[in-house]
C-alpha cells in the first residue's frame, strides 16, 4: 500500500488534471430554444410568457449564469426565440430548426396546448426533451414518451379537479340544471369533459346546454342568448383569454346574469379583463384560483408579489406595450425556475440526464406556481388550484377579492348563491 502522502498527492494530481478538462468541456453558454406567438390568436397568452422568460434569463446572466452541476460552474444562458405567429405548422418547422440547426441544449414549447401539439412529435423524433410550459393536454403524455415534462400547470384532466369535485356540492346550493360552453381546443375541451362527467355522474343535476365553439370565436352574443334560453342554474364557460373577453362582452351587451357562473380564464387574466372593461361581469363568478392571484408559499424563487413587482418593472422599463401580468407571465418564470434547478442537478446536458434531473425535483420543489410534482409520464400532478369566488373587496384588480370556496380544507368562505 502506498503511503498516505503519496495517495494524497496522486489524488491532488488527478483532480488538478481533471478540473481543466471539465472546464474545457463546458460550453460557453447554455442555449435555450423557445417559440412564442408574436402575433395571431394566441399572442396575448404567449407574449407575457416569453417576456417573463427573457426577464428570467437576464436575471440569471446578471448573476453570472446558471450553475450546471455537470460542469461545476456557472454558465450564461442564451435564449434563442422564434415567432411562430400562432401557426401550428410554423411551430413544427421552427421546433425542428431549434433542434437541428441551433442545436439547443434546452427546448421549450410555446404557450398553450394548441401550439405545443406541434412541438411534441418533433421533439420526440429527435429524442430531445421538451420542456412543455403550459401545454397541458393529456394527449401529449404517454408512458412510452420520455421526452416531455409539463412545468406550469396540472395536466388538463387533473387541472379542473376542484370545480369537478365542487359539482357534487351544487345540489346542496339548490342548483339543478347546468350549462357548459367551451372552446373546442384541447385545453378547454378536456376541462369541459371533466366537468361534464361530474355532472352526468350526479343524478340530481341535469345538463341543459352543452356546446363547443371553434377556438377563434370572438363573438358570443348568440351563444349567450341560447344559453339563457336553456335557463340553467349554473353556467360553466371554458375559453382562452380572447374567448373570455368576447363572452363577457356578450353578457354585458345582453344584460345577461347567471346565478352561478364559472369562467376558465376570467380570474387568471383579470387585469386583461379589466383593461377590456368587462371585469365587472365577473362579480360573484367562480374560477380556479390561478397562481397569479393565489399566493403559494415557495421554497424556491420569488413569491407572487416579488415576481409581479419585478415583471411589471421590466415591462415598464423595456417599454413593452400591452403586456399584462397574469398566469402566463408566471408560467414563463416558472419555466425558468425549473430549468435552473434542473441544470443544477444535471450531470450533463444529455437529454435523458436532463429528464432524470427534472424528475429529481418532483415533490421537492414548491414555487409560486405551487408544488411541482411529476407523474411518471411527465405530466404535472401538482399545481392543483382551489376554486374561488370573486366578490366585492379590494384585494384583486380594482374592486374585487377572492374567497376560496373549495376544497373544504382550504375554504375561506362559503359560496354566495345565487349571485346577487
Amino acid at each position: 500500500m502506498a503511503p498516505s502522502w503519496l495517495r494524497a498527492a496522486l489524488c491532488a494530481g488527478l483532480t488538478a488534471f481533471a478540473m481543466p478538462a471539465m472546464a474545457a468541456d463546458a460550453p460557453s453558454e447554455i442555449k435555450i430554444g423557445t417559440l412564442y406567438a408574436g402575433s395571431g390568436q394566441l399572442a396575448s397568452a404567449s407574449v407575457p410568457l416569453h417576456v417573463a422568460l427573457e426577464w428570467w434569463a437576464d436575471q440569471v446572466n446578471k448573476d453570472g449564469g446558471v450553475m450546471v452541476k455537470g460542469f461545476g460552474k456557472k454558465i450564461p444562458v442564451r435564449l434563442i426565440s422564434y415567432d411562430d405567429q400562432s401557426s401550428p405548422s410554423l411551430a413544427a418547422n421552427l421546433t425542428n430548426q431549434l433542434i437541428t440547426q441551433d442545436k439547443v441544449d434546452v427546448l421549450l414549447s410555446d404557450s398553450t396546448s394548441v401550439m405545443t401539439a406541434s412541438s411534441v412529435p418533433v421533439a420526440r423524433d429527435h429524442k430531445q426533451l421538451l420542456f412543455d410550459v403550459t401545454g397541458s393536454s393529456p394527449n401529449f403524455f404517454s408512458p412510452d414518451n420520455k421526452y416531455i415534462v409539463l412545468l406550469g400547470l396540472a395536466s388538463t384532466d387533473r387541472y379542473p379537479k376542484s370545480i369537478a369535485d365542487f359539482v357534487g356540492q351544487m345540489p346542496k346550493l339548490g342548483i339543478k340544471s347546468v350549462a357548459i360552453l367551451y372552446n373546442t381546443a384541447d385545453y378547454t375541451a378536456f376541462q369541459a369533459l371533466a366537468v361534464r362527467r361530474a355532472v352526468e355522474a350526479n343524478k340530481e343535476l341535469k345538463l341543459v346546454f352543452d356546446r363547443g365553439v371553434p377556438a377563434n370565436t370572438t363573438d358570443y352574443t348568440l351563444l349567450v342568448n341560447n344559453v339563457e334560453a336553456a335557463k340553467p342554474d349554473a353556467l360553466l364557460e371554458f375559453g382562452y383569454p380572447a374567448n373570455e373577453i368576447a363572452f363577457l362582452h356578450a353578457m354585458q351587451d345582453n344584460g345577461s346574469k347567471f346565478k352561478f357562473l364559472f369562467t376558465g380564464y376570467g380570474l387568471t387574466e383579470l387585469p386583461l379583463m379589466k383593461t377590456n372593461g368587462v371585469s365587472d361581469q365577473l362579480a360573484y363568478s367562480y374560477a380556479l384560483a390561478s397562481s397569479a392571484v393565489y399566493a403559494f408559499k415557495p421554497n424556491y424563487g420569488l413569491d407572487l408579489e416579488q415576481f409581479k413587482e419585478a415583471f411589471e418593472h421590466w415591462v415598464t422599463s423595456h417599454k413593452l406595450p400591452g403586456v399584462e401580468f397574469g398566469f402566463n407571465a408566471l408560467a414563463g418564470y416558472q419555466a425558468g425556475l425549473v430549468i435552473e434547478r434542473t441544470l443544477q442537478a444535471a450531470e450533463s446536458l444529455d437529454q435523458l440526464e436532463l429528464r432524470r434531473a427534472v424528475f429529481s425535483l418532483s415533490g421537492n420543489m414548491t414555487t409560486l406556481a405551487g408544488p411541482f410534482v411529476l407523474a411518471p409520464d411527465g405530466s404535472q400532478m401538482g399545481e392543483i388550484l382551489p376554486l374561488g369566488q370573486i366578490v366585492p373587496g379590494k384585494e384583486l384588480v380594482g374592486e374585487y377579492k377572492l374567497n376560496i370556496v373549495w376544497p373544504e380544507d382550504l375554504a375561506t368562505a362559503k359560496p354566495i348563491y345565487p349571485a346577487p
Partner: protein, 291 residues
C-alpha cells in the same frame, strides 16, 4: 331559435357585406386583390378604440372621420402602388404579393407600437339598451351596426348608379380599355375607388370591436378570408353582389352557431366551395366580364 338565428344572420350579413364591399370595389375597378384590406379594417378598429373610448367622440363623428381619413390616405397610396402594378405583366398575381407584403408591414408596425393584447370597446359607448327580438334580445350595437352598414352600402349604390363618377367607375369595371378610349381618366376614377375601398374598410373597422368581440393587430388576415368568401359567393367584381354574399355568409354562420356551434366556421366555407363549383362567377356573376 331558428327565427332569431335568421334575423341575427341578416344583421351580421349586412356587416359582412360592409367588410367585403371595399375589397370588391377595388377588384372590380382595378382587377387587383388588396390583401391589405383586412388591415385597413384593423386600423379602423384601432382608430375607433382611441376616438370612441379614448376621446369620447360620438359614433357618427367617428364614422365620418374614419372614412375621410382613410379615403384621403388611400389616394396617394393608389398612386404610389397601383400604376406600377399595371405596368407589370401579371398585375393580378403581383398585387397579391405586393398587398400581402403591405399587410404584413402594417400588422408588424401596429404590433410593435401597441402590442398584441386584445382590445375591445364597451358597447354602451354606442348608447341604447338591448333590443327585444323574437323572444330574445340583440345588443343595441348590432342594430346600430346593421343600420350603418345599410347606409354605407346604399351610399355605394348611389355612387355607382346615380352619379357621373359612378357611371365612369362602372364603365371601367365593364371594359377598361374602352373606358380609356372614350376619354375617362382611369387613374383618377381608380384612385377614388381605391380611397373609397379604404374608407369603407375603416368604417367596417369602427364596428369590428362590437361585432367581433375584440381585436388585435392580427385581425387583418382572417377578415381578408371572410371578405374573399363574401365577395366570391356574391360575385367577384360586382360590389352589390357583396350584399347577397354577406347575407348568405352571415345567415350560414348564425345557423351553425345555433345548431352546430363546434363547426361554426365550416358551413360558410362549404357554401363558398359549393358556389364556386356550381357558379364559378358567383351568384350574381352574369354581368361580370373576365379580365
Amino acid at each position: 331559435m331558428l327565427g332569431y338565428a335568421l334575423a341575427t344572420g341578416v344583421i351580421f350579413g349586412l356587416y359582412y357585406a360592409l367588410v367585403g364591399v371595399g375589397m370588391n370595389l377595388v377588384f372590380g375597378v382595378m382587377r387587383i386583390v388588396n390583401l391589405a384590406h383586412g388591415d385597413f379594417i384593423m386600423l379602423g378598429a384601432f382608430g375607433a378604440f382611441w376616438l370612441l373610448r379614448g376621446l369620447g367622440l360620438s359614433p357618427p363623428l367617428v364614422v365620418a372621420i374614419s372614412f375621410a381619413v382613410f379615403f384621403v390616405v388611400g389616394l396617394p397610396l393608389y398612386y404610389l402602388l397601383v400604376p406600377r402594378l399595371f405596368r407589370a405583366r401579371e398585375p393580378e398575381m403581383l398585387s397579391l404579393i405586393l398587398f400581402f407584403g403591405l399587410s404584413q408591414v402594417i400588422e408588424a408596425v401596429v404590433a410593435t407600437l401597441f402590442g398584441n393584447t386584445e382590445r375591445s370597446i364597451p358597447s354602451r359607448l354606442l348608447g341604447g339598451k338591448p333590443i327585444a327580438l323574437l323572444g330574445q334580445t340583440i345588443p343595441f350595437a348590432w342594430a346600430y351596426t346593421g343600420c350603418v352598414s345599410v347606409l354605407m352600402l346604399a351610399g355605394v349604390y348611389v355612387y355607382l348608379y346615380r352619379t357621373r363618377l359612378g357611371r365612369q367607375t362602372r364603365a371601367i369595371m365593364a371594359q377598361r380599355e374602352e373606358a380609356v378610349a372614350i376619354g375617362i381618366d382611369v387613374h383618377r376614377i381608380s384612385a377614388i375607388a381605391f380611397g373609397a375601398g379604404a374608407g369603407l374598410a375603416a368604417v367596417a373597422g369602427v364596428f369590428a370591436p362590437f361585432m367581433l368581440g375584440s381585436f388585435t393587430p392580427s385581425l387583418g388576415i382572417p377578415l381578408d378570408l371572410t371578405s374573399f368568401a363574401v365577395i366570391i359567393i356574391g360575385s367577384l367584381g360586382n360590389p352589390l353582389g357583396t350584399v347577397l354574399g354577406g347575407i348568405i355568409f352571415g345567415v350560414s354562420l348564425m345557423l351553425m352557431r345555433t345548431y352546430l356551434s363546434s363547426f361554426a366556421d365550416l358551413l360558410p366555407n362549404l357554401v363558398l366551395i359549393g358556389v364556386l363549383l356550381v357558379r364559378p362567377t358567383g351568384l350574381l356573376g352574369r354581368r361580370v366580364r373576365h379580365a
